[in-house]
């Protein structure tokens, strides 16, 4: 499978999952995993709160906007939200309030680094940002999944 095919599979997967993502995403609904994420989010927000304003944030892998909407826009940042899935971004667009729309730029793109020199969501928009945030989970659980997901 080529890198292009990996990206396409990633996009298709997230497009399919987009509709139910917020309601069913196990990493959001699971308290143990969420506690790990919360520690990361606390680190990020600690940096942003003490940073010089105004802030512009590039959110790579923004998904349905749980960080973008609930954290970055709420803090007053201007946000560029990049995601490989148009479906996820449509969900994000549907959730943003009128008041926050002017501070949000939504970009369909990836952050794949395997092709040197190819423009992607990171390289094309990094110049706009004072902070770049990326907190993504590879959803197709890997090595241990076949061992631990015996019942599924």
């Amino acid at each position: 499978m080529s890198h292009e095919e990996i990206l396409k599979a990633n996009e298709v997967y997230h497009d399919v999952e987009a509709g139910a993502y917020d309601a069913t995403m196990p990493y959001i609904r699971n308290s143990f995993a969420q506690a790990i994420f919360n520690a990361d989010i606390a680190t990020i927000m600690g940096l942003l709160k003490h940073a010089q304003k105004p802030l512009s944030v590039l959110d790579c892998g923004a998904g349905t906007g749980n960080l973008t909407l609930l954290k970055f826009l709420a803090l007053g940042c201007a946000v560029t939200a990049v995601d490989i899935s148009r479906g996820m971004l449509e969900r994000l667009r549907g959730k943003v309030s009128k008041a926050d729309e002017s501070r949000l730029q939504i970009v369909h793109g990836d952050v794949d680094t395997s092709w040197n020199g190819r423009p992607n969501g990171l390289t094309s928009f990094a110049h706009q940002a004072s902070y770049i945030i990326c907190q993504i989970t590879w959803p197709l659980t890997g090595t241990l999944s076949a061992f631990v997901r015996m019942r599924e």
Binding site: Y13, T113, L140
Partner: protein, 108 residues
């Protein structure tokens, strides 16, 4: 213990199926339609498409000077998490924060 009981790891047939799947001798049930299209061999190496080192390099080129980026394990249960983090080391989550304290470069 909760996970052990919940997933019935104490049952030999459950454990046996899991081991067979781990060895690739038994197919893993697909979670969604999209997952069918994905090569499971590549799922084992999620960082294949996104290298933390290359990301750091790209950010440095864009004058970011405070960069934290790494892949690591995120699992739903503490037992899985511990095994994955310390023994299997199959990282499945990317964490990155980068800050540019200086002037942004002019885009080409």
């Amino acid at each position: 213990m909760y996970e052990f009981v919940q997933r019935e790891y104490y049952r030999p047939d459950v454990l046996g199926r899991g081991l067979l799947r781990r060895m690739g001798l038994l197919s893993t049930p697909a979670r969604s339609q999209a997952q069918v299209a994905v090569d499971q061999g590549l799922v084992e190496r999620p960082q294949l498409g996104i290298s933390a080192e290359v990301l750091t390099g790209l950010l440095s080129e864009n004058h970011f000077d405070n960069i934290i980026t790494h892949w690591r394990s995120i699992k739903r249960f503490w037992l899985t998490y511990t095994l994955d983090k310390w023994f299997v080391r199959s990282n499945n989550a990317l964490f990155m924060v980068a800050h540019r304290s200086g002037q942004a470069p002019i885009p080409a």
